[in-house]
Homo-oligomer: 255 residues x 8
């Protein structure tokens, strides 16, 4: 149940189209369903402005399928499965098809990493969101981010391989960056791109450190620390490789 | 030069009130002034939507005074001095008074830490900003944050001592939190407040870890990590004790 | 030899049912047996109130089987094998069957991780123990904890997926939590659940950080630090993923 | 309001000695008072089984005095001030004397560190609590712990300087340790004492790492990690130098 | 060339059995042979009192075989291959057999880890060396240590599973420990055994932290730090899992 | 386009061999080509003095082949592929052969690690470069370094296995080291070789820490820190295992 | 004795101006003088191309004075004292004046930190060296670097406050940077400047992380890691705040 | 009571000079005295071969004086006070003088750090011990080490400022090092000296990392890790700045 369906219900009560008893029954419906191994949170969309995503790791394919099934049946907003293995994707797609849904939008990684699966994406939300990566190796995280942004109704623009070692590649995109309503900067290694972008635009900049790189990159910790210590004021940061979190952060600030 | 004075200039060009030559002269004016020991960045307001703040540590009182003097003379937006010692505050206030300014708005800490000094704060910017702290010990960081928010035109609402160990204190403020356009969560120790607030509102949540606490709090690193690993999606984070950065982050997202 | 069999022996000495010589022989029996690769500690139950558990990693299946065999033969309390691979489980079950025992109680993980095996669980010990997890991904650790609690005679109640991002799911369980004699809180990522639970109950709270999560979760270190720095006073902590240790901690405090 | 005064109130309602209206008024009394800079939590005793302690660091002496004043006036259980500087102690003592209280019980450190101040300690609570330190240098933490235990009604027994390098000093105390209902082990450097004590008693053992030592002791991190990795099962741990937390942990498990 | 063969050569020069020219030729023989991918150090035995060991990791089986071949041909002391994979062992054994040697003494691990291979072990060196482990899981490191000690001429006594959680198992061995000329303590988890042993004997104690354990054991770092911070004075430490280094340390101090 | 081809173009413009229109067309050619998943940087050679290398990890074989194809077609300097898997090497070699190139110079590792592939290496650049490793286990990093040095036109001299534990092996090479124009020191474990070499030569010394070693070597962090803290002044350092970066560092300083 | 005075000596030997006996006496002169508390290294200039600097911390003013006295008397190149307190400077200046030297070139910090003192600076060495800092707070490190560069004969050009948050300030200096023979980049916080500079010039770039900043800057560790993980190939790094080391690194590469 | 006085007692029993009753009385004497704030361990000398040292930090001057008084009165071996402040030294000296002792041997640091105080040093113990430091800044740690070695009966030889950056200074001392029975290597920064010394002598080498240095030296952690990861086999390590521990380590291995 999201904000618009709640408003519809309230309108129906006001107009008499929904009886008080029915209203109570719908509203009293538990805000979550206890599946035994998980509590599916139906009201999260209403409360947080974004639906509960099913985080794949640590769940069996059957767990994933059952939770997605519950969400598809009891809510009517977007449904997301993130960091899913092939087996989890397969189980979820089968369960969704049994409910009459198509295969969903599966955003995988060309390198065989985990996938993001989306059902019932939100339609056309305003706001220009630019997702920019420092290197090609940051693509898997960027893909997760744009998949979730799309599920939440945005049409993100993806700029790949704009790292600061080739500053002219970045400067070519200055106009695109300057006109965005929100910018997600995705970078590994030393994460310097966040500081540079932060200095080029007054828009909100959410930085995502990635575990790209080796040695002193410390699996993303270096980029994380560098982004937090950024000399560009007002840049905010999410966890390492957390493309999903950055997309949700954008959804919070672009209503 | 900020966005509104730029627009005024352009209008003057369009109306003929400013000759093309004058316009060029004004626009070509160097975007910074090289003081030898610092390059004062006059266009930052235009480019990033917020004025350059003078960061006190590592500068002599004379450095601080000269930079503030240059900013007061060459720009017309707000001027900030952050993390200033008493000697720096004194030097800056003297320099500002020599230019005909009052003592500025000095936000100190009751515990004798550094101060924030503001000149020419922006007037009445829309947007409800709630700044919420877990404990009384987080007040110095919250004070820096609200001082900067005020300089940038906001009228932040400060909720102190709402840590999760006394959940009812927090639940009393749920309506205030739910109606905010942006929430800054300031917490040390284990930083759990960010996750709880993130679950209660769909608005943007910027989390500031503080160095409050001892032992395993690791001078803010624990809260920082906890906020980055938050189970509430879309919460973004700035550096430890960085109340200034959180305020700038709010300014980026509330136009 | 546990406390009750010791008392029986002493009673027998007092009543003359056991001659002094026999008593000496039984009591002088080495408190451990040296198997060459391990010293099986028969008196641990008496000394620490809980039996020695066989920790699987670093032992061959044959080591595990021989130690369990010795424990089943020379003691009469519960026998535990923890973190066992399938090969270790198989070897132990075969050895136990050769001694006339059934297959034991094997608590595996649906995700193919290691198992806990229990023989001769203690019967009905008083005390209400609640084990509560933040997410579904914490289940493997919770399963180890409840398996050991059951072996030690408790009937733990398991509440899954009560993370603080959906506070209402947790608040529904407030009564259950408030009436518990001991609560084990199992959470990864930022581990905020421990602080919230600690604020809701006066009972002992043992927090178990888990390695669930990625990036800034630092494989459990973030949750560990957050739980240690908890603003809820009196919460105590065991090592990362140490469901076994938490169960033993409960056994120490509920006699 | 603590558990016994609540029960008295309920008895009064049952007997008619308190009218329903009065009961409502008393019960509806806000569970905290908002002092502007702090929210004093009156119900914590009822909810957590221990009173809110005023944590000194980050508060002005005036803050401390006002909060203690509020607590002395609006509750009737013990009141604690921890980690207080001399100025804070002085301000609090003055405020308490103005309310007709004596100077309180001030437990300082011979080395000039912070003090613990207690008013209205709870009377004679059952349970044998042993507090044991590895070295003389751990005394300041032990003093905080015993001061808080005394405030909560216990009569802790303090054993100092029982480190494992002189095992015979420890073995002399084996009987004392074995008969305790709870043991708090306080040790810095390598923290080995927790493992040894954990192996000697079936009672709950709460370990407190201290920042005693230098070099590889890493200001308590080494002892913290060692205690968490203890080979003695069921030992639980609180944060570095957190004598207060250990005392509260004891209060949770000895009703 | 070790010390005794050098003395023999010098005696031969003195007696005329070796001509000055021959002596020069033998002594001028390069102290190492450059194999292109490795410089085999023939004089290390003379200089350091122990032969160069071939460290397996990072070398191909062919590298290992060639180096061992060179050492067997050009020196006459013990030859060691450490941390060898099965393929490396196989290649070395084949090369040694081609030179007329037997299969060497291969000390593997029952858990399929790497092996130590020894050719031409030194004969009967005086000195009682006790190697003591905290748990069965420390055996692979202890095996490496005793294999190297044997190669260097010692007959180490191995005491397994004497961790401090069962202090009586350790106390049974007090006499053995007290009479040793050197003690190697091998322990993972919290490494407390080193402190306890250090307090029981005046002999040299070399502590080896192991990566046994999980979570807060931090793959040996916890034990390492604990051993370095040991409250037992004069305990010295080698690197994590470095059974080889401890054996060499013993060889340095027992001539 | 590198410096010499730019100069040729300018000469052609000056001599009239190239018309202004053609010159503009060639010069206006975008400094990179946007392949969608990567921006190939044609001018890097001109700007940084070294060509863009294709970093294998995180790219599909197809990505690698397409980027190399673009670089071979649009530039005329050396082309490098680093840290390539066998599949990436195969795809790139096939693409290069389709363009009429041979198989390239593939420098693999005998231990099956990743390879470096070079096309069109620069010819005979002056300057004596010595690459020296502490052990045989550092060879894979040294191989990457010498492969890149060769691609950039140098003829590096490789000295293997000169670790400080056998100082005489190193002292034999003192003359070689003293006469070098630049020295790359590659060492794992404690990285002491960098300090010793730094004390023996006035030439630039670039130190590369490697992840060789175990336990306290912390996968290269120990060597990294040791090299940064070197007591030999003027030694500079690149990231862990970064043989490529050291080679580029040499190219920057030897024109 | 530096390279030119050695050559002069050899020429004198060749011409007969210096007798063989005198030559031997001069050359056999001990390469260091043992002062009891320090060994003054007279040949370092010859061996490493730069004179031994006296590092102040841990030495008494008397130690410093005696070592400088010895160096001034026994060598004829530049003499440096680094990180000196006021007392050390005073003692050294007094000792130098007693030898007939002036007060030396003392480069202090306006913020009262330690000073660098130089006697007999080398004359006019070729090579354009640019020292560039990200912020004004990096000046103390830059001052140490330029003082040492000047002592070694360079005339460094200092560019202050060119951080990447105001990219235009940096771009104005692109030509200066592009024409330098060596660039030292000094930056704290996230250290992004090193990557950007590395992408703009083919010259050697030595990066110096500084401890400027707070919180997540981790006292320079963040900048250090970021510079090591730089995406600009061939950038090399020295230790935190090590302006001296960077200057020596430049001296190694510009002969 | 040390080993020789015990033997004397036993001889007296054998010869009848001491009656059995007296022997029992002397032997039953408590092995420690409980001073309330400390347990003075009289038998440590017998058990560990070295007397209990009084570690200053965390003790009041009165604590120190009382413990030293007890040790002087009840034992007859050497008495040590380590890491003592001036106030502690003063109190101890006064107490000792009251017992008729002289001022003791006070080894301070010229830089005002803590002191070591020794009473009744052991006489002339055999064994050549060399203590070697990398720099002058390591002297305070070396001073503690030699003071304790002297107290334990050795006549250590101190070699200062032999760091590896000036290898010739070290090579001059090769003979001294090669003939030592034990070598203590004291070094900060990168600690490379331990590896080099370890390669030059077959004697036991105990390495002491010091907190000398700055930045990447990480207050001794870098030297510590480097020494543990040393490529010279058999080097053992004690904690950072632990000169006392190294001296005790020597006492354990040289009887």
């Amino acid at each position: 149940m999201d904000a618009s369906s709640l408003r519809a219900l309230i309108d129906d009560i006001a107009s008499g189209a929904c009886s008080p008893d029915d209203a109570v029954r719908q509203l009293r419906r538990l805000p979550y369903v206890d599946l035994g191994f998980a509590r599916v949170d139906h009201h999260r969309d209403l409360r947080q402005g974004m639906p509960e995503a099913v985080y794949g790791p640590g769940k069996t394919p059957e767990h994933c399928a059952a939770i997605v099934e519950e969400l598809l049946g009891a809510t009517d907003g977007p449904v997301l499965l993130t960091r899913a293995t092939d087996a989890q994707v397969k189980a979820v797609v089968a369960a969704a098809e049994a409910l009459g849904y198509g295969p969903g939008i599966v955003t995988g990684s060309p390198l065989g990493m985990t996938s993001t699966v989306v059902y019932r994406p939100t339609e056309g939300r305003a706001g220009t969101v630019v997702v920019i990566t420092a290197g090609t190796g940051d693509l898997p995280v960027a893909n997760e981010c744009t998949a979730v942004l799309s599920a939440l109704g945005f049409q993100p623009q993806l700029l790949v391989d704009c790292g600061v070692a080739g500053l002219h590649r970045l400067l070519d995109e200055v106009d695109t960056i300057a006109m965005a309503d929100a910018v997600v900067v995705i970078a590994g290694m030393e994460g310097a791109l966040a500081s540079v972008i932060g200095g080029l635009t007054p828009a909100p900049v959410i930085a995502v450190p990635t575990s790209t790189g080796y040695g002193a990159a410390l699996e993303g910790v270096t980029a994380l620390l560098a982004m937090l210590a950024s000399c560009s004021s007002g840049v905010t940061v999410v966890g390492i490789d957390n493309g999903y979190g950055a997309a949700c952060g954008v959804a919070r600030l672009l209503p």
